[in-house]
Symmetry: C2
Subunit: 215 residues, 2 copies
DNA sequence: GTGTTCCCTGACCATACGGTCAGGAAATGA
DNA sequence: TCATTTCCTGACCGTATGGTCAGGGAACAC
């Protein structure tokens, strides 16, 4: 879990600026390489090259390849959890779910590599973050399901299965990150423009909100 | 593209039963291993073990790891294309899109490994099947977009963006294959039952059809 | 039978990988 | 200034990988 080197952090808990900066460089490079090559296909040498550091230096900050990988996966998971705040404190499904979709679409655009690493991890059986699935993700999901069910009981939306609604939102929003390459190919080889990202978000939001009778 | 050994097939074009059977065993094992470990993480030795054959025998039938991988990816792509027939000859969107969703959900259940291999391939930039994306998939997509546009013009469904509708269908249906592990974890660690698969298909169909005003 | 094609595989090879380590440089604190 | 901690890295190691190959066995056509 902790990726610190053998020596514990400074007593003051203030990691030196050098350490912080290098960890940042390494994590950025690692996210990209893991996303593009998968855990098995990624090499420490390639990550080192992208970070502009010697390979041995990576092992100074991250003991093993798996430690580094775990940190990358945890990062995107944390970002997604934060986006869920859009869900809470919303008076009605159109507001709450609409905001959640918008937040997740924005993350897909801003953190496509992290999303891919997560997808890859889950597809391979979540060997590294199984505990997160069973604890944090499970309880988060239960909470959201309860909220949706409340909206249904109040007659604010159609009686759909909350669980499959959540899966649909995850699948659709993350698709724009995980399948970026396919989408770009079908877009004439060019990345989606600002306007196209907005159109995508609007389309997804419109179909889902109308689909659950909350439009 | 062709994964035949140096020696060309029999003149009669009838590959021996031995060859056909062994290729089948290898492809089944390879699909699973590639799905579980990714291209980089998969090893020929592991595939050989799963197929119950010596490693050298794999290289007799498939010259390289990449040849074998390509065959696996092509297989799932072909299966998906066949499912698209449900789309055609449908008089209205509810029938056509409903049948397409049902077909894709069934494939997600029957071929989860192939779906994962495809997802992994696309996520890594489609190094092996880029030509398929640019030719077959692109023209298939254009055709379907035209069909949807026709339905919209005829007032049979709401004027949504056909492209994003297709992405949503792909994303959602394939999610049940690619994220099987996450879904099972959130299902108490158990695979979806027949009943739950039906509920999933019904939920997805209901939300999308109502979402596009075709329910 | 017998010649020919197809099938099989243990042993091997070059390469590349994750990880280690000793020893030095740079920063930090008193 | 000088002692101590932190940071850095070239060289190295054991292992595992994709792929090769020679030589032998099975199947089949005639």
């Amino acid at each position: 879990m902790d990726a610190s080197p053998p020596v514990p952090p400074l007593p003051q808990g203030r990691r030196s600026a050098i350490r912080r900066e290098n960890e940042r460089l390494i994590l950025i490079a690692a996210e990209k390489v893991f996303a593009e090559a998968g855990f098995g296909g990624a090499t420490m040498q390639l990550i080192a090259d992208r970070a502009g550091l010697p390979k041995a230096n990576l092992h100074y900050y991250f003991a093993t390849k798996e430690d580094l990988y775990r940190r990358v996966v945890e990062t995107i998971f944390t970002i997604w959890l934060r986006a869920a705040e859009a869900f809470d404190q919303a008076p009605d499904p159109a507001t709450g779910i609409g905001a959640y979709i918008a937040a997740k679409m924005r993350i897909s655009r801003d953190h496509p590599y992290g999303s891919k690493v997560w997808a890859s991890e889950v597809m391979h059986g979540a060997p590294v973050i199984q505990d997160y699935l069973e604890t944090t993700l499970r309880s988060w999901t239960e909470g959201r399901i309860a909220a949706i069910r409340r909206w249904i009981d109040e007659g604010r939306m159609a009686p759909i299965d909350p669980r499959h609604l959540l899966y649909m939102i995850w699948a659709t929003t993350q698709h724009y990150a995980d399948f970026t390459h396919q989408i770009e190919t079908l877009n004439g080889g060019k990345p989606l423009s600002d306007r196209q990202w907005k159109a995508a978000t609007d389309s997804v939001t419109a179909i889902i909100l109308r689909g659950i009778g909350a439009a």
